[in-house]
């Protein structure tokens, strides 16, 4: 087994936590998508949102906004702790970081909408082929957009940081997003 010697990973303890929190973030919206339990559990139609949850949604929104702010701040601190930037590098890195986060958030929104559409369709019973086709194509578009975005920022960062630091930042983002993606994939039910 090939191993990496004495790798110091300050990020590791954080990775899983941030991952699951970002997962919440990806699903968060004023009308949170709720994936229904498997039909095999109960033949009866499931309600999308329980009445109790619906009435509490206003205060949940505020909590969600607070949680999202905290996640953003935690992530930024995590990146800062791992990047070891000089003052000159920091001055050029953080504006790029912020605009990358904004673009990632737009991608998350698209993904969240697609998941919500899927949850809605799933709650109505067997999914029509055209809906499946539309959702699948959206999911692929989002994936492609994310890869393209990553490449474009890798290039932008390359102009302002040494390549090892660019690569390290890409790794940090990747560690976080890989966990989020995996969480999402495990929780979203197969289409029938």
């Amino acid at each position: 087994m090939l191993v990496f010697k004495g790798s110091t990973m300050r990020i590791l303890s954080f990775g899983a936590l941030v991952g699951s929190l970002l997962y919440l973030n990806a699903c968060a919206s004023s009308d949170s998508p709720v994936l229904p339990p498997p039909p095999s559990v109960a033949g009866t139609k499931q309600l999308l949102v329980e009445p109790k949850a619906a009435s509490a949604s206003a205060s949940a929104d505020t909590n969600m906004a607070i949680l999202m702010k905290k996640i953003k701040a935690d992530k930024k601190l995590l990146v800062a702790n791992n990047m070891d930037l000089t003052d000159a590098e920091a001055k050029r890195f953080w504006p790029l970081y912020d605009s990358y986060q904004e673009e990632l958030q737009q991608i998350n929104h698209r993904l969240g909408r697609t998941i919500m559409d899927y949850a809605d369709a799933l709650n109505k019973g067997p999914i029509p082929n055209e809906t499946a086709e539309k959702l699948m194509s959206e999911a692929l578009d989002v994936e492609e957009a994310e890869v393209n975005l990553k490449r474009s920022y890798a290039q932008k960062l390359d102009d302002v940081l040494p390549a090892t630091k660019v690569a390290r930042y890409v790794q940090i983002e990747h560690k976080i997003r890989a966990v989020v993606k995996s969480e999402l994939a495990q929780r979203i039910p197969l289409v029938y």
């Binding site: 087994m1 090939l2 990496f4 010697k5 790798s7 110091t8 990973m9 590791l12 990775g15 919440l24 699903c27 968060a28 949170s32 709720v34 994936l35 229904p36 339990p37 498997p38 039909p39 095999s40 949940a60 791992n82 799933l122 067997p126 999914i127 029509p128 082929n129 055209e130 499946a132 086709e133 699948m136 692929l140 994936e143 492609e144 890869v147 990553k150 490449r151 890798a154 390359d158 040494p162 390549a163 090892t164 660019v166 690569a167 390290r168 890409v170 790794q171 890989a178 966990v179 993606k181 995996s182 999402l184 994939a185 495990q186 929780r187 979203i188 039910p189 197969l190 289409v191 029938y192």
Partner: protein, 173 residues
Amino acid sequence: MGTRVDIHTTRQGTSHRKALTRFVAVVAVLLAGSAMAQSATDTNMEILKQKITANKKLLVAHNMDLNDAEAKQFWPLYDSYQKELEQLDHKLGKTITEYAEAFNKGPVPNDTAKKLMKEVLNEEEQEVKLKRSYVEKLGKVLPATKAARYLQIENKIRTVVKAELAQVIPLVY
């Protein structure tokens, strides 16, 4: 927040659902190991890989509910997709090995970091393209819900593998 739904919906009931969960966890650990395997354990690794390949196929078969006509058209596409995925995995494995070597020599030089990062980005791009091309092919031989379901199964497996890899590979310094 959403109700937490464990894995996926299946008409076959809980046994297959559990099977997929367990399988995904096992594959992730094994593939993460396999990507970094050294020659001493090559034979065992080869046997293990064959077993994983067979397990995966059975898992897909169980979850796809294909009729005979669909099966006849689906499996050849499945096999060629697996081959292309394997080639991608090889490239990725090579990149990881190169990184491990560079990493073990001390601080990674900038040009090495640049080269490796470029390779990883290329591989990622190729995987998305490959996926799209097979979605189109599958769309011609299967109803869209089944094509989407197959894609979901692959996605469940690969996202776990990717997450495992991302967690075990150290940051570059």
